[in-house]
């Protein structure tokens, strides 16, 4: 069994305890709720788009250290990105945590994606993959329509 500290790296513990962008955006252009029926975790992702660019992104909710840290890190790397870039980051991250074939990302996106590396420890714990991806699924739902609740099951 791998060392638990590979799952709970310092950066995860830090973001889990002190999540960044943990707030509501009052007039979001897009938002969606994420819900994991397995554990009851909830997250709401708020987006403020300026054309195709993400001007602001924030989240609220309650969850485990991993889902909270994943949402927090997500909001940090998405600010200033385009919608397409956000989707490319999600696709690549999703592949990395589910053991798929991650597509190569162009610089500087690849560098941003590297910031998600501490979350890929969930690969070894299948039950926890959804914790790492819940906020991203909510992001995708927000981009698609908004206001919907996306479930991980």
């Amino acid at each position: 069994m791998m060392d638990l500290r590979e799952l709970y790296q310092d950066i995860i513990l830090d973001h889990g305890r002190h999540p960044r962008n943990f707030r509501k955006i009052e007039q979001p252009t897009h938002f969606a709720h994420g819900y994991n029926p397995l554990c009851g975790d909830r997250v709401t992702v708020y987006l403020s788009l300026d054309g195709e660019r993400i001007a602001d992104v924030a989240f609220q909710g309650r969850g485990c250290a991993i889902s909270t840290a994943a949402a927090s890190l997500m909001t940090e790397i998405l600010r200033g990105k385009t919608v397409d870039e956000a989707r490319a980051l999600f696709a690549q991250f999703h592949a990395r945590v589910t053991g798929g074939e991650p597509a190569a990302l162009p610089e500087p996106l690849a560098e941003e994606a590297e910031r998600l590396e501490p979350l890929t420890g969930v690969k070894a714990y299948p039950a926890r993959v959804k914790c790492a991806t819940l906020s991203w699924h909510a992001l995708e739902a927000a981009l698609q329509g908004g206001g919907a609740t996306v479930k991980t099951e």
């Binding site: 069994m1 638990l4 554990c39 009851g40 975790d41 909830r42 485990c64 250290a65 926890r128």
Partner: protein
């Protein structure tokens, strides 16, 4: 060494030594160091149960009922013998009052779908408690949506037990059924079901008891309780998965229509009309889980051999030790469980999500469950999204609880620095 001597070398509070008893459970030999504290979800199986199922398939297997040949007759006999064992296990008056089902969920659904529409009409009330598992909530919601009954929920008192005064106040002239747990799966609260049955019967309401968590831990006597239905699942009483039992008073079962049509449950079929079997076979359409029933019979033997009063003593002593030990951990709050808690240690660790707790515990080879325990309304009652739950079995001892406590302290160390 015989099992009897193994069990009595260093007797614990139940008159048996859990550490020695563990040798009868192959899972522990195959998973050295495992601290298994998830029996509330499903108990491990003694070799006697595993071997009995295998032996049945090897030597006595054939489909039951109607077979003319000897093997089928023997198989039928074993299947019906298992029913008799479950009858004795619940002290039912007659083995025809025992219907084999897949699990507690199916037992409750059987009553909701057969007894419900036959005896309830729009506006009638089914009374449940806040403590219920989803399997004792959703079947009644389905029935509500189908025939317009009213689902009434009785609250808890300040200690986390069923508030009996509030319960009595909610028994109305329209209350036809009380559906309530015997031991709450998410908190371990023991419900005073004797009193519940008395109060309900005084008002003419029937009572179904969810015995999932109680059957492995308490002596259950359905005649003494006076309940109308009692549901249990085999895999929590050290038996196989996919088998459970519904006890129903014979006059009630006899008045209930079938709920699933098929083979085994009929007396005579023409295209115009079908005459149904009498209980319990009326409710056992199709080839049943024969091996499961026989395995459950072996599990009942195992439990009876240990002694149900002994198991109760063991579980009570260990529950007390657990509450005492865990309560000393800073930031840990046991979920309130009323006046009497049995076999379940459900807690909130301040600042640490239950899934993170369970993850660290797993690293320490301590198996527990985390989340809402299929009791989301109860979690909401306590203002929590979930808890971490350790649940006890006959193979657990104080050392297991100590290992649990040490692992929880490690989780605190990691997340609460």
């Amino acid at each position: 060494m015989t099992t009897a001597s193994l069990r009595s070398v260093y007797p614990g509070p139940g008159g048996f030594d859990p550490r020695q008893l563990r040798r009868e459970f192959p899972i522990f030999g195959n998973n050295p160091g495992l601290v298994f504290l998830d029996s509330g979800a499903s108990a491990q199986k003694p070799a006697s149960v595993i071997d009995r199922v295998a032996e049945y398939y090897r030597t006595d297997y054939a489909n039951v009922h109607r077979g003319v040949y000897r093997l089928s007759a023997r198989s039928t006999e074993l299947y019906e013998e298992a029913r008799e064992k479950v009858r004795a296990f619940l002290n039912a008056a007659d083995s025809r009052e025992i219907v084999f089902v897949r699990n507690t969920t199916e037992a409750i659904n059987l009553v909701a779908q057969s007894w419900g529409p036959a005896f309830l009409k729009s506006g009638d009330e089914v009374l449940i408690s806040v403590l219920e598992h989803h399997s004792n909530i959703v079947p009644w919601q389905l029935l509500r949506d189908r025939i317009g009954i009213k689902l009434v929920v009785t609250p808890l008192d300040a200690t986390g037990g069923v508030d009996l005064a509030a319960f009595e106040a909610r028994l109305s002239p329209r209350t036809r059924l009380v559906a309530i747990t015997h031991v709450a799966n998410a908190t371990g609260a023991v419900v005073p079901v004797e009193t519940i049955v008395q109060l309900a019967h005084q008002r003419g309401a029937k009572v179904i008891i969810d015995g999932s968590q109680a059957a492995p831990r308490l002596p259950v006597d359905v005649q003494a309780l006076g309940c109308d239905f009692y549901a249990l699942t085999g895999h929590k009483v050290y038996g196989p998965t996919g088998i459970g039992a519904l006890y129903g008073r014979y006059d009630l079962l006899a008045a209930m229509p079938p709920w699933q049509g098929g083979g085994e449950m009929i007396l005579h079929v023409t295209f115009d009309k079908t005459e149904y079997q009498h209980p319990p076979h009326r409710f056992e359409g199709g080839t049943p889980n024969i091996a499961g029933a026989i395995g459950l019979g072996a599990a009942v033997d195992f439990v009876e051999e240990l002694g149900r009063d002994n198991i109760l003593d063991h579980e009570e002593a260990l529950t007390g030790y657990g509450v005492d030990r865990l309560s000393r951990i800073p930031g840990l709050r046991m979920l309130d469980a009323g006046q009497r808690r049995l076999g379940i240690l459900s807690f909130d660790l301040e600042g640490v999500h239950p899934h993170d707790v369970a993850q660290v515990l797993d690293q320490h080879h301590v198996a527990v469950r985390a989340g809402h325990h299929c009791a989301q309304p109860l979690m909401e009652w306590f203002g929590l999204s979930g808890t971490t739950r350790a649940s006890l079995g006959v193979y657990n001892d104080e050392h297991d609880v100590d290992r649990l406590a040490e692992a929880i302290e490690a989780a605190r160390e990691m997340f609460c620095r």
